[in-house]
Subunit: 349 residues, 3 copies
Amino acid sequence: MKSNPTYLLNAWYVAALSTEVGPEALFHRTILDTSVLMYRKQDGTPVALHNRCPHRFAPLHLGTRHGDEVACRYHALQFDCSGKCTKNPHGNGHIPQAAQVRQFPLVERFGFLWIWMAEEQPDYERLPDFGPLDEGHPNGIGYTYMHMPVNYELIIDNVMDLSHIDHVHGEIISTRGKLSPVVPKVQELDRAIVARWEWKQTPAMMIFANFLSQPREEADHYFNITWTPPANIQLSVGAVQGEKSFDECIGQYDLHTTTPESQFSTHYFFATRRNHNEEDGEYNAIKIKAMHQAFEDEDGPIIRAVQDEMGTSEFFELDPVLMSNDVAPVKVRRLLKRLIDDEARTNDS
Amino acid sequence: MKSNPTYLLNAWYVAALSTEVGPEALFHRTILDTSVLMYRKQDGTPVALHNRCPHRFAPLHLGTRHGDEVACRYHALQFDCSGKCTKNPHGNGHIPQAAQVRQFPLVERFGFLWIWMAEEQPDYERLPDFGPLDEGHPNGIGYTYMHMPVNYELIIDNVMDLSHIDHVHGEIISTRGKLSPVVPKVQELDRAIVARWEWKQTPAMMIFANFLSQPREEADHYFNITWTPPANIQLSVGAVQGEKSFDECIGQYDLHTTTPESQFSTHYFFATRRNHNEEDGEYNAIKIKAMHQAFEDEDGPIIRAVQDEMGTSEFFELDPVLMSNDVAPVKVRRLLKRLIDDEARTNDS
Amino acid sequence: MKSNPTYLLNAWYVAALSTEVGPEALFHRTILDTSVLMYRKQDGTPVALHNRCPHRFAPLHLGTRHGDEVACRYHALQFDCSGKCTKNPHGNGHIPQAAQVRQFPLVERFGFLWIWMAEEQPDYERLPDFGPLDEGHPNGIGYTYMHMPVNYELIIDNVMDLSHIDHVHGEIISTRGKLSPVVPKVQELDRAIVARWEWKQTPAMMIFANFLSQPREEADHYFNITWTPPANIQLSVGAVQGEKSFDECIGQYDLHTTTPESQFSTHYFFATRRNHNEEDGEYNAIKIKAMHQAFEDEDGPIIRAVQDEMGTSEFFELDPVLMSNDVAPVKVRRLLKRLIDDEARTNDS
């Protein structure tokens, strides 16, 4: 039993898709068990505050905006975007020193809002770089969000071990049984785990075949996935034919990233940038919708069933039988645990 | 965390509106975590019994009435209105001594049924006096009941600090910003907390304006609220114009009273008696319906959101920022806690 | 509070009706808090496995059948009906020794699948004998299944004390008040509790009256019920007129048996074999449907209300008032507890 849920705190989590927080919105989402208010200043800059009035604990997203400030719905205390109380309509209007809402560092990059939940000063060096998401035609990238009632590590496990895809998913990303026998090359870096598969299949994965010169012929494929803390998985996949290198592939650059809502529920964010048919907006919409449905309808039921079966037990406590395809996800679990433990030790000393 | 929910026990709580318990009904409601059966004897006198057959624990409200007695639905043990078993249809009909249902003292007054949940003898001196509810035309008073999934003290907080009304409610009871700046006079008595606001506004509160001689002109207003244990808040509000005293106001005499169902759910009862347009039954129906909707749709969502945000934490444990408008509700919380602690000490010694 | 729910483990529980597990099905049900997969081999033999892949804990019922084997939906590990892993499509195909699913002994008899949940070797001597269910025309027997959100012992209590029937049920099985005054003869055997009632009523129970020679006249009736561990109650009931013995009665031979899903939810299985109008399939269908409805609509609401009222308390902890009609159910509770305690002691030593 996880009695004390622990998360890696000195880290940047995705709090929202950029598009989820509209110009007028008081958007809220629970992140690492804490309710967070997000909104955009009039100049568009996003801000994040603890979604709790310090007076009587009403959530601020029920309130109203006044320019860049937010007034609580209950007694109209007003706060600026640093969380400082600027107005108390009661009595003589005195503002107690303690009338301060916690502000969370929030950075907008690559189509996501990244939040820093630790008490410690934010470490901007740790902001991840997913620059390729920003490069290319706007119709060449899609984003989506899913809520999953499972522990976030089960989603990381799912993506870190791609051997499931022929068994869980349908025709369009099938490797025709060629992926499972491949033992991925796994590298453990200081703060990253990388896994790479390469294989041949005939025809190519259906998502790529029609963009290759010989759609019905054999193609070389690769998957390259890189986990970085706390919960980002950058996945590249592509196919080439003939003597070309993977640098010339038909492929895509994806980001899977998860943010714990609580111990057993997770925000799952996804972005996919492709290097072909980039200007086709209709194709783009169909593609992101299909990927969203695959996560929801194919991975989702299995991962939820795994969570139900595990109950509140820890993964290793249940003695999983591990195989060659588990090397990458297990290395992620161990590295993440080491980082969390290190953080706890630092805080204790 | 409230690990041991404690209520003030030597006290009278409202168990039901008089109208909720019809002549034939076996009405049941959970009060302070205990399921209570209420019904009326053939002469109309209401009675309250533990809603649990002592044989196999079936709730008695599933049973049937036999004159002033109630038979359990499961095995037909029959109980009189003192809770004594009067009939056992099984075997030789012997009635075990222990076949006794607990009876709760229950008194009907002011349109409510008041219950005494303590093991100790009821203290009839502590029955509150809300006599003005009984005085006047029957079309001059309205009653309503609401179930709220929150701790009852959050509802007391809401009523004891009326500074919320301009921010939470709509036009009809707006003070046009005049109430918030007023610091109420708060008096702490032996077993009561009183708060009083007086202010001027133009025009008067809309619920009163049309009954004043000059509906569009300035009027003097007052609120006077008196909390008494365990959870009664008597609220008087009125408006006058010219040199008149508040004794001559257009106003109303209300009772807000809450009864914990459990630690995090509450029965909220309300009565309002007005001193104007008393005979107008249609106006009366519209008015109580509007007030019910205001509690449900305006206070309700905020108080529920506060409870969600607080989770199972105690109010003071979360370090609320307190202001001049919090004096009355905080005094109530402290006095109530002192009374509960005193009671616990008495029981320990 | 039952902090450690304990069940009798060295015992055969009904896991399913035979008809619930079709030839192609991957049927699953939680039994004693454990998810169990049941399916039939191609020769019809039923098998039961732990419904959990030992790799990443996906429930196997989401998977696919391959002849007598089952492949996990997540990563396609394949298991034979003994639970042995026979195929690993990943890497070099090596199958870890630990890749073994627990198999549960499962026996099909009397229209039910009986499961052995203990770690110990199954004791086939303890398989109960309800042979009369198998004797007679196929239209003379009906089966049904109900899910009840209550502790299973509350259902045993209900059946062991038939004095409730005139109070809970409608006309068709009414004894017209004659059953309640009868004190049943109760016998305590080594691993069984038997209770027997005999009485006269006019007319006979409606389910039997029309099959007797004088439908409107008095008839002798009996109930004979035998509880055997863990949770089987065999109930015989019949009516005769004149000088006939009960061997010549119009009657039926029923089995009520319950299997805990968890501490507070239960699988309730029922079979009824009658000795009259045996070939009438339409009558048979109406009869089993009526009995199902009686359990669901008449016993069900009361037993659920009892569970709600008891919360998580143990029955005896609440000091039930016991009467002559409680002898049989109380003896069952005590004997069952003794058997569970004996089992725990054996395991400790």
